[in-house]
């Protein structure tokens, strides 16, 4: 039983990690808190849902499309909104992203009503993997594996490509990066796009076993904030481990203290860890 809980906690934790990786990227590179991050996830889930309903496309097949949609959405967010507030003092950027979050969420409600929607049949639905007493749902397993793959893809991209190295440079010092001939405008927009693609993938993977409604991104937003801070801002490895830690503490906390307290435990873990590592697990 305990093994089962730990395992499912870790599986969901990897999805949290992917959402947090997207958030930590823009946080680390641009120092911007994107409150609309979870809403991009919701957009991705709806994309998958409509492709499934209208074109009978399997969620896993429409994953690249969903990722592309959120990439473009995120890219445009930078070009149209963030660009104007990135140099503003203090909390203005936060104001803009919060407005965007309100807008997207209520636009979704306007278009598609607040009703819960489900994807009832897909390649992975209702399939299970049984290993002795431990049962793993295939949708969760696929979501975890997909999230790990996407996370490593992002890490690889940032470490090994020219654009990725430019992102690293821009994160360290915007002005120096500019002096070295890096088009920081373009790099920021691409970073935002990649961040969107991360939640796009996460959303498509979640859509197979999670209800789809205008608020479905809100919880992920909130958890992603905590995970990013827990790992250390802008630290991708931190976001990865932070996500798993949060997934685990949510599952174990829910098991030992009751499900109503599972998120309270998550936030408590954050406060406790930060007492010993005031700049996050991997921050310095």
């Amino acid at each position: 039983m305990l093994l089962q809980i730990i395992l499912s906690g870790i599986l969901v934790g990897f999805v949290y990690s992917l959402v947090a990786v997207g958030l930590t990227l823009i946080w680390g590179v641009m120092d911007i808190i994107n409150f609309a991050h979870g809403d991009f996830l919701m957009v991705s889930m709806y994309t998958v849902f409509w492709l499934y309903t209208l074109l009978r496309l399997d969620p896993l097949a429409s994953l690249p499309i969903a990722a592309l949609v959120t990439f473009v959405l995120s890219f445009l967010t930078y070009k149209l909104i963030i660009k104007r507030v990135i140099n503003a003092p203090g909390l203005t950027a936060l104001l803009a992203t919060f407005g965007l979050s309100l807008f997207i969420r209520n636009f979704a409600q306007y278009l598609w009503t607040p009703n819960y929607r489900f994807i009832t049949t897909s390649l992975v639905t209702d399939k299970k993997l049984e290993m002795g007493s431990v049962i793993i749902g295939i949708p969760q397993l696929v979501a975890a594996l997909g999230s790990i793959m996407m996370t490593f893809l992002v890490v690889w991209f940032i470490k090994n490509t020219k654009t990725g190295r430019a992102i690293q440079a821009a994160a360290q010092s915007r002005d120096t990066a500019k002096l070295m001939g890096i088009n920081t405008e373009k790099i920021y927009a691409v970073t935002f796009g990649i961040s969107g693609a991360c939640v796009g993938v996460a959303g498509a993977l979640l859509a197979t076993f999670f209800p789809i409604y205008p608020e479905s991104g809100a919880l992920y937003s909130l958890l992603a904030f905590v995970i990013v801070a827990l790992g250390g801002f802008g630290n991708i490895a931190g976001a990865l481990y932070g996500g798993v830690l949060i997934g685990l503490s949510e599952a174990l906390g829910g098991f030992f203290l009751g499900t109503q307290f599972k998120y309270a435990i998550v936030f408590l873990i954050y406060l406790l860890v930060l007492q010993f590592r005031p700049k996050g697990l991997f921050g310095w």
């Binding site: 104007r84 803009a96 407005g99 209520n106 409600q109 306007y110 936030f267 930060l274």
Partner: protein, 329 residues
């Protein structure tokens, strides 16, 4: 003209206009908007003390707001104690809790602190949702009694609510102003500009941040009590959510951070906007009101990144032809 006198005149002028407005227009919607406006302007002023002056971003003020609302409601609902005493008790309780949670949080800087305040508020929300004694997620309908000052319930007119809100708002604004113009205000602003430099100059940063948080929490809680008495129903999702915390943040940032006029201007724009769009468009249940609200927030943030106050300052300095005023705007 003496700059200091001019400023005082402006504030008093604004305060008098606010006081007179609901007497000039007896429309019930208008008076309702005025009450909500004063509550949120006051909340913004209280929040401004810790975030605007001291630079410690709090995303968790809903916690203090909710504690104020719940303390008075429980005392009235279970023991029949007057909400006025409940208001004081709520303020004291919020102060105590602010000390307990802030002391460890103040070790954290910047975003880490902001997320910590958010975490604290979420924990408190979760506790209230599953706490049976306070009716958990069901919430409490405050028993309707005959209207009187002691029961803080008025059914025939919104004017008494307005006056109470006005007094609370006045106390909060004057407290913020007093802090700003005294030693503590300068200490807080020094902490905001540079934590290390403030410490090097011998300021006990933790102590002053704690003072600021305590004052801010106590004032925030009093508005919680009033809000509960005004709506006559509370549940954890109404008072403890991130939405309440963020509304306070939004209107203060929109108006202009770290300035006592900021929250007043911000609330004067945001609250009528959200209340009137809700009245006229909210009934459709399609979220059009919040869509417009969100779009306008984006618009303001993009085109006036320094807040409305920044815009006014810029205009004035341009008129004066003052090159330097823009730099400090």
């Amino acid at each position: 003209m003496n700059v200091k006198n001019f400023r005082i005149d402006t504030l008093y002028g604004i305060l008098i206009v606010i006081l007179l407005l609901p007497f000039m227009n007896s429309n019930i919607n208008f008076r309702h908007v005025m009450v909500i406006f004063l509550i949120f302007a006051g909340l913004g002023e209280a929040w401004n003390i810790i975030t605007g002056f001291a630079g410690q971003t709090s995303f968790g003020h809903a916690a203090f707001f909710g504690i104020g609302a719940y303390t008075s409601t429980i005392l009235f609902y279970k023991f029949g104690i007057s909400p006025w005493i409940g208001m004081l008790a709520g303020a004291v309780l919020a102060t105590v809790i602010s000390v307990i949670v802030s002391y460890p949080c103040f070790r954290l800087k910047g975003h880490y602190f902001a997320i910590a305040t958010l975490a604290v508020a979420e924990i408190i929300k979760q506790l209230f949702i599953s706490w049976d004694y306070v009716e958990g997620a069901t919430g409490i309908s405050i028993p309707i009694v005959e209207e009187s000052v002691t029961s803080m319930q008025f059914h025939s007119s919104k004017i008494p609510y307005f006056l109470i809100a006005y007094v609370l708002f006045l106390i909060t604004t004057m407290t913020a102003r007093y802090i700003e113009n005294n030693k503590m205000g300068f200490y807080l602003k020094a902490i905001r500009e540079s934590h290390e430099a403030a410490e090097a100059l011998g300021i006990d940063t933790t102590r002053y941040k704690l003072y600021a948080m305590m004052v801010s929490a106590a004032l925030t809680a009093t508005f919680g009590t009033l809000y509960a008495q005004y709506i006559l129903y509370i549940d954890p999702f109404m008072v403890f959510t991130l939405e309440v915390s963020m509304k306070i943040v939004l209107l203060s940032v929109l108006g202009g951070l770290g300035n006592i006029y900021g929250p007043i201007i911000g609330a004067a724009i945001l609250i009528p906007l959200s209340e009137y769009t809700r009245v006229y468009l909210g009934g459709t249940g399609k979220g059009i009101d919040l869509m417009i609200f969100g779009a306008l927030i984006i618009f303001v943030a993009c085109f006036e990144p320094n807040g409305i106050l920044g815009l006014l300052k810029k205009k004035r300095s341009r008129r004066r032809g003052d090159v330097y005023a823009r730099a400090d705007a």
